[in-house]
């Protein structure tokens, strides 16, 4: 089984040199710590920045410089700032190569649900719907199951959707699944150390083919 950090590290292997990347809040943010050697990526923050640097030292904090999670950050030599309209023109227009996002449910047909649970207070979708609709490749990192034990990799989403047929790849503590935006059957590509196929089958509602390499 992979830890949160290991999930992030595995997702980071999807990064390619020269990619422009948007990372969501939570585990996706950790992906920035595992960018492979020799791979240079540029991080976009959807509130209006390209070329996001690391968190600041305490004496560098600037209230005018935050990321999409409202955390203080820093700039790089290559950074540029722009409006939210220009930022989402960049996202919607297909200029971001890859996004890593969290999820509540991913379905075999590539559908994604990650913004609301009916009956609970809804905080809003923020930029998630725009990201999944616009980014070239969408990688989901999530826990494989709910606390209840229910699978989050489902036959069909029961929660309200964030996007239709938008997920390319899912990484959980159990392994890696190719979703291919629902254009092909789901394939199990990798299993985390110590995980058995029986365990994956038991915890996965979506039908999948085994394509371990």
């Amino acid at each position: 089984m992979w830890t949160r950090e290991q999930i992030a590290a595995r997702a980071a292997m999807e990064l390619r040199d020269g990619f422009y990347v948007n990372l969501g809040i939570g585990i996706p943010t950790l992906v920035a710590n595992y960018i492979p050697t020799g791979v240079q990526v540029t991080l976009q923050s959807e509130n209006g920045m390209l070329g996001m640097g690391p968190f600041p030292y305490e004496d560098e904090i600037d209230p005018d410089l935050v990321n999409a999670g409202k955390q203080t950050i820093t700039e790089l030599a290559s950074s540029s700032y722009f409006s939210s309209a220009d930022s989402f023109a960049m996202i919607r227009g297909g200029h971001i190569d890859l996004s890593v996002l969290g999820a509540m449910q991913v379905a075999a047909n590539g559908d994604l649900a990650n913004w609301m649970v009916p009956g609970k207070m809804v905080k809003g979708m923020g930029g998630a719907m725009d990201l999944v609709a616009g980014v070239k490749r969408v990688v989901v990192v999530m826990e494989h199951t709910e606390k209840s034990g229910a699978s989050k990799l489902v036959a069909a989403c029961t929660l309200p959707l964030t996007g239709l047929a938008v997920v390319d790849l899912v990484v959980t503590e159990l392994g890696v699944f190719d979703i291919a935006r629902g254009k092909a059957p789901v394939r199990l590509l990798e299993m985390a150390p110590g995980v058995t196929l029986d365990e994956v089958r038991a915890k996965t509602e979506a039908a999948f083919e085994v394509a371990l390499t």
């Binding site: 305490e58 609301m116 809804v122």
Partner: protein, 238 residues
């Protein structure tokens, strides 16, 4: 020419506010919010407001103080997670709420200012966001039609501005401010530095003065930080 320069926030808003109006408020979280203007609106006590803003501040700062004052009837936002009072008011049915995807919200405002009554986007197709809206196919892909958005008043925070109303924003405090400045009948701006016309770089004016009706130097900027996230300083290589 009548001066656009006001002395105070109250001055700048004089004659502009009315109950039931729609106000666009710049900012992302607490970053780049027009805090002096929000305070003045709190003071003025105007109510039944529809507020268009990506977020709704926190309980005691930003738009949160208009919520606390019972002045907001409806919010049009993309994310309101940082506010306990918001949840209470919403769940008790006191507050209306319209969620827009963040990029759709930004583009609706840009469209409103640019004379575009509607546009198509892939964002939200097949979700609750598309309910009741036209969905159309272009070149084999489905898109939902979204409408341009305008307001009676935009309250804007810029870093620097000149007497003509030309504005420059700083870093990620730009966010929703530039589009909102174009999309309201009246646009009122607070700046940290008010300079003489001609001091700003003409190639780098983010909002041309044509969009600005009133401008003033804010009396006080708290610029509160929502999530101060830092890293430890490495040991010096001594």
């Amino acid at each position: 020419m009548a001066s656009k320069v006001a002395r105070t926030a109250a001055d700048a808003l004089s004659g502009v506010l009315f109950d039931g109006m729609t106000i666009m408020a710049g900012g992302f979280g607490l970053c780049g919010i027009p805090e002096n203007l929000i305070s003045a609106i709190r003071e003025a006590g105007v109510k039944d407001l529809t507020v268009v803003s990506n977020n709704c501040g926190v309980d005691d700062f930003g738009l949160g103080i208009l919520l606390a004052g019972g002045q907001i009837k409806k919010m049009i936002s993309s994310y309101v997670g940082e506010n306990k009072l918001f949840a209470e008011l919403y769940l008790s049915g006191t507050l209306e709420l319209e969620f827009n995807p963040q990029g759709t919200l930004a583009e609706r405002i840009r469209a409103g200012g640019a004379g575009i009554p509607a546009f198509f986007t892939r964002t939200g197709v097949g979700t609750l966001v598309a309910e009741g809206k036209e969905v159309r196919e272009f070149d084999g892909e489905h898109y939902v039609m979204e409408r341009g958005l305008t307001a009676d008043l935009a309250i804007i925070k810029a870093w620097m501005g000149d007497h003509e109303g030309n504005l420059v924003y700083r870093r990620t405090a730009r966010n929703f401010n530039p589009m909102m400045a174009t999309a309201a009948k009246v646009t009122v701006v607070e700046v940290e530095e008010l300079v003489v016309t001609g001091q700003l770089d003409k190639d780098n004016i983010h909002t041309p003065g044509i969009y600005v009706d009133q401008i003033f130097k804010g009396a006080h900027f708290e610029k509160r930080i929502e999530q101060a996230t830092t890293r430890p300083r490495e040991k010096a290589n001594a």
